[in-house]
């Protein structure tokens, strides 16, 4: 975060202003990514006029950075109408998240004309068989890359967003090389989010400890490996008074149906903009204020953890595990892979597991039959 944006965020925090909002325009999608946490049906999306009204409310509330995402945003026939309204009428700083397979020269030129801060495109591999195997749409890598070139040729800022999973574990360096070749930025995220309905089966797509360890020691990704993998100093009173993340503090998420959540990865409903004003939900929702009240010192288990001040703990993932003040196992695994030191949560689980062992080891018998042999 730039110094000035950091200062603005501090001021927004002090004044309880939602500086940044992600608005999903639709959950419909033209890809079927194997790791996606959404269903792709339309359960009653907000209309164009409802969205414009919401944009008015958000602008009046002080929202500056607006991320439009989905689903696939270009599937909305009114997408450019919404974008124009957000940019020209309400002067948001707009970021887009898309697979871009519907973006051709004409759409790229239109985006340039309207003006967006960045376009983030999901790219999972440099190899079509791997990328298309994840999106389940043949030819999708080529279309996304063509779109990236069209956007780049318009002078727009393009970012490749790669999610690390078992299917593409070997390919993240290839994606980075591709990004370098095209002159675009690239991010890598090893987090797999459970389905919004609570189904956690897709978590099996996440990479294992050894793979994470390797990634966290890739200098090209993390910079100074020693510094990145260092165990943080123990938390003091000041550091334990810190906020876990920006969710509910300076940022929140709105679904295509108008439901407001602390974050896209934090499915705790706090209100619906079809029934209440956005600012009233932001300021007065009990759930929003509950999330807002949490400090690092309030966390169960994590407060005593070695990694408490350096962990990437996501309160939303913790919520999906059952307790927003509890640990997020995926982040425990990341801290462990990064430093080699297990988290307090991992150690506690190990102790619990040990207490559950009911099988006693039998005394050795010299003449016992070999395992598997039939006596």
């Amino acid at each position: 975060m730039s110094g000035l944006l950091e200062q603005m965020t501090e001021r927004a925090l002090a004044k309880n202003i939602p500086l940044s909002v992600q608005l999903d325009l639709t959950y419909r999608c033209n890809e079927r990514c194997v790791h996606c946490y959404l269903d792709h049906d339309d359960h009653g999306e907000m209309t164009t006029s409802e969205i414009k009204h919401l944009l008015d409310e958000m602008a009046d509330a002080g929202v500056f950075i607006l991320t439009l995402s989905g689903g696939e945003i270009f599937l909305r026939k009114d997408f450019f109408e919404i974008l124009e309204y957000a940019r020209w009428r309400r002067q948001f700083c707009v970021k887009l998240k898309t697979n871009a397979i519907m973006v051709r020269e004409r759409e790229a030129a239109r985006l340039r004309e309207i003006g967006v801060e960045s376009i983030q495109i999901s790219i999972y591999s440099h190899r079509p068989e791997v990328h298309d195997g994840i999106t389940l749409v043949p030819g999708s890598l080529q279309r996304s890359l063509d779109a990236a070139k069209f956007l780049k040729s318009q002078g727009l800022r393009v970012i490749f967003a790669n999610v690390l999973m078992v299917q593409n574990l070997q390919d993240y360096q290839g994606v980075r090389a591709l990004a370098d070749e095209l002159g675009v930025e690239c991010t890598l995220d090893p987090t797999i989010t459970p389905m919004m309905d609570g189904d956690r089966s897709i978590l099996s797509l996440g990479v294992d400890h050894n793979a994470l360890q390797k990634v966290f020691r890739d200098q090209g990704l993390v910079g100074d490996v020693e510094e990145f993998c260092t165990i943080a100093a123990p938390g003091d009173e000041n550091s334990l008074a810190a906020l876990p993340c920006s969710a509910s503090h300076t940022a929140c998420y709105v679904s295509p149906y108008g439901d407001v959540f602390p974050c896209v990865q934090f499915p705790l409903p706090t209100g619906n903009v079809r029934k209440e004003r956005f600012l009233d939900i932001w300021r007065y929702s009990d759930q929003m204020n509950d999330v807002r009240s949490i400090r690092l010192k309030d966390l169960t288990t994590c407060t005593s953890c070695t990694h408490v001040t350096s962990c990437t703990r996501c309160p939303g993932l913790a919520f999906m595990e059952g307790n927003m003040r509890g640990p997020s196992s995926q982040d425990c695994q990341k801290s462990f892979a990064r430093t080699g030191v297990p988290s307090a949560n991992m150690l506690a689980k190990k102790r619990t597991a040990a207490n559950l062992v009911q099988i006693r080891v039998l005394p050795s018998t010299e003449n016992a039959p070999a395992s598997g042999a039939i006596a």
């Binding site: 603005m8 927004a12 202003i17 500056f64 020209w88 009428r89 948001f92 309207i114 003006g115």
Partner: protein
């Protein structure tokens, strides 16, 4: 002496945060914040009101400064903001549309 007209560039992203404008350039996404004087100038820059009128009605009263000195400072400020693509300046009134284009 010709009068100077100033207009907000509709291509920027802008929001008032606690009374000060936060502005992101549409040209290169550079973030700026405007101090109180610059914020007043930005908000009054409708393309139709001459800069000297903005200075005399909105700035001199607020900051109790001499009009000539204030106008000189405002002109310098307006040109700096124009260099960053935040304001447009012209010796003719500037007509703004709601479609991001200025005429």
């Amino acid at each position: 002496m010709s009068r100077l007209y100033v207009a907000r560039n509709p291509r920027v992203a802008a929001r008032s945060l606690d009374g000060e404008m936060m502005i992101m350039s549409g040209r290169d996404s550079t973030l700026f914040t405007l101090n109180k004087t610059a914020t007043i100038l930005w908000q009054a820059a409708d393309g139709a009101t001459p800069l000297d009128e903005i200075v005399s009605t909105k700035i001199c009263g607020e900051f109790q400064v001499e009009p000539a000195e204030a106008l000189q400072d405002a002109e310098t400020l307006a040109r700096e903001l124009a260099d960053h693509g935040i304001l447009q300046i012209s010796e003719q009134p500037i007509s703004l549309t709601t479609t991001g284009e200025s005429r």
